[in-house]
Point group: C2
Chain length 344, copies 2
Amino acid sequence: MAERKRTEIAELGEFGLIDRLTSRFSPSKGTTLKGAGDDAAVIDAGVGEALVVSTDSLFEGVDFDLTYFPMKHLGYKAVTVGVSDILAMNALPEQIMLSLGVSSKLSVEALDDFYEGVEFACRELGVDMVGGDTRASLTGFVIGITSVGRVRREALAYRSGAKLNDLICITGNLGAAYMGLHLLEREKRVLSDVKDPEPKFAGYEYLLEKYLKPRARKDIVESLAEEGIVPTSMTDLSDGLASDLMQICKSSKCGARIYLERIPIAKQTSAMAEELHSDPVVAALNGGEDHELLFTVPLSMQEKVMRMGGIDVIGHITAENTGAYLVTPDGSDIRLKAQGFKED
Amino acid sequence: MAERKRTEIAELGEFGLIDRLTSRFSPSKGTTLKGAGDDAAVIDAGVGEALVVSTDSLFEGVDFDLTYFPMKHLGYKAVTVGVSDILAMNALPEQIMLSLGVSSKLSVEALDDFYEGVEFACRELGVDMVGGDTRASLTGFVIGITSVGRVRREALAYRSGAKLNDLICITGNLGAAYMGLHLLEREKRVLSDVKDPEPKFAGYEYLLEKYLKPRARKDIVESLAEEGIVPTSMTDLSDGLASDLMQICKSSKCGARIYLERIPIAKQTSAMAEELHSDPVVAALNGGEDHELLFTVPLSMQEKVMRMGGIDVIGHITAENTGAYLVTPDGSDIRLKAQGFKED
């Protein structure tokens, strides 16, 4: 018998793998308004309304390190991660469910802390925690989050609606979470042999907060509604600006040009990058976990968007097959590349 | 500083732990019709309709062993596990999402097989696979399944509606999946040192199928609708009859009496139990993973329920605080106990 071909997952990359696995499915139910391929699935919820549903998971050792990640923050962050996908559809989150795999290493008190963080985030966002299960895991802490949100159908923002000349907007600033992670990893290495470690975090609280306790940008979705803006496309910044912008370009069948000097980077991010002899723009493009929103609006909306505050226009959408480029201050174009699957 | 108390998860047990962790949450949104504490959460979906949402996870080494679990069957079973929670609300499944954690040990072809099984189950059930993500996992294959279903609100069956003298009904037969698992584990042990193992499964195909490829009982929810029966309470048999019946008693604030000789057990299950010198009733009560449905109906529905076929009435609901009992043929009462958290 011939040996069956073995393709390594790393050969396809994360997005290639997901495309391959989900390509066999196409929605057949009338109630499925949007299937795989966006931040969340969209399901009919009565006249004019839709529910958006999303699922995410976080794995110990890949997505978080319990040696420095406080359980309370982890609970808070799990909610942010889940809810960000709902916001990325321009919907408001209403419910979450948690499905945990817990090893015997964790105590009940540690799980209490985790749920305290979950509760805090839920209260802040006005979201109900409506269930899920807790199972034994042989292999570290696993967090599954299912999030449900609601939106008027005409306000839905898919990844696929960006049009030529639309403005590319982002909320907040980028790269801070990535620098926070690097800071924590550095202190872990430095202090691994010290008995009572006192890590040096003074001055970097902002970076730590962006990594350990990022806020979901519900305020932005509310402001967009107040201003009467429906983004032509939207996604959340979880994989890094380059990757997430390329997802919009792929879904919307368009290109993009963004300008390096317009990418908002916090002072602390730049300072930390300097200390680490690294480039803060690389952190912004490829770092990920910012949990900010990336969206496009027609050129005519520029004034309205600027009035909202806390939003930067970093570039514009170009024609199909022109690719996605970063324009540097000296005028040269750098083609953006998506980051691959995190195979640790 | 005083040492903080450390309570082991095993001290509370699975249900105690989930109760403790979720007790801090109570729904505040008008759209949350039912929060934690049932097979699925219930969310407003327009006039007269509700969506039910459920989340589950399966962990390699705890819930399945890839040395004998074919990936295609595992994909099929993951859908059954997810969809069973939706059926247990008397709702029909419409969408599922998958969130996978994959280790580099798995090839792309193995994941193709898994998704082929998912697709097969989705087609059989008329369910859309609408997304989810695939991530790297350091520690074996992790499967997260989110399921969404729809139901007219007046047809919803919670765990909490069982009334005094209601009949306790179950579909199919019990304990077969547990015996299938034991058979696979035995062959694995016996053949672990053999070069080209040829496991002896002849005559036991039924047990293997019940464990490796259980069917979700969508047919039952459809038949109940055709007969115009809305169960007063319902849950799926995933933890074993004892545990699942006690969940209904707890939620419905009632007791129960079930009769040993009425518990349906397949011939192959009894034969395998004899071979293993074990009791098939123990497998039925505590084995779990049957993915059949357990429900209650008013006494007046007895004839209608019997007409449906494939359903056994195994006992009746008793008053609050009377406990849940198994009545043996010699007339003695055995108090049912829930099985704990599977801490392997």
